[in-house]
Point group: C2
Chain length 172, copies 2
């Protein structure tokens, strides 16, 4: 980045500096889903085109970008802004889930898709969410664990390959 700044015209440097300051001034968490937004409510929560009774729960706003890029999802999101992490002393009670629980409790949500990372912290977070949300009338799903597309069986780690075998899908 330093080399890039040294190379661009002074006008662009000023513009860049101004924009960097603006980022923190004008971009705040969406009051509904915690995604980054320039408005009180983000464009995804406000969109009339999204299904309003499905919520995909992610750890960070960048996960929303990754899921949007798939083009396979047209529901809403809820961003935890973190995950349970025993290593960092963050437990379930520290998680930002109050707004989510309130919406699920109100009965307006039919389906929750837990899309926390498939690592230890993400799995702990998923288990905590399942425990908190399964008392309400809502269907809870987890992203499929399995072998990723475009790879070869021999290079897949044993834990994932074992899970892909256990979760094998009927095709006939």
């Amino acid at each position: 980045m330093a080399f890039y700044i040294l190379k661009i015209p002074p006008k662009e440097v000023e513009e860049l500096a101004r924009r960097i300051e603006e980022v923190q001034k004008f971009i705040k968490p969406c009051s509904l889903c915690n995604n980054f937004s320039t408005e009180e409510i983000c464009s995804l929560c406000a969109s009339p085109k999204r299904e309003k009774d499905v919520i995909c729960v992610v750890e960070e706003p960048k996960d929303i970008l990754a899921i949007e890029k798939t083009g396979q999802y047209d529901g809403l999101y809820y961003c935890l802004l973190g995950s349970i992490s025993p290593m960092e002393g963050i437990d379930g009670e520290d998680l930002n889930i109050h707004k989510l629980v309130k919406r699920v409790a109100s009965g307006e949500i039919k389906e929750i898709i837990i899309s926390t990372d498939p690592d230890n912290d993400g799995e702990l977070t998923a288990q905590f969410l399942i425990q908190k949300l399964s008392v309400y009338k809502v269907k809870i799903y987890r992203l499929a664990i399995g072998i990723p597309l475009g790879t070869q069986i021999e290079y897949i780690d044993s834990a994932t390959l074992g899970k892909a075998l256990m979760d094998r899908k009927p095709v006939s």
Copy 2:
């Protein structure tokens, strides 16, 4: 390997050369599953501990090693020794499936788990197998496609993440 050979004692070089010759002489495809074997029938096919009515179909013997390492499978294998590959001019009719089809047709097999690679050639091969085998009374499964364990959502390719969303698993 050249550096290793230059360094070891002459006796070990002779031993290595002899073993390399033996590999092709004594190791042949198992007459049942095509896995490498020193006997007419490999130790997996011969084992009384394996379930005899489940067959996991793989492309190469090294895939058998990968699946055995998971410790999650106790059925038999069938090795295609290749896959359909339009780029290399290999189509379904070139595939080594006659012994497999015969066993499925005999009614002795309850379940087939197609474990070809999750890439283009492996997918074509899987579709061909499904078409050939679904005329018989056998349950056919495919390894689960999804996000691999230990990764993070933001680094998973869109195609895999999209498939993991579509194949989401109910947890409540």
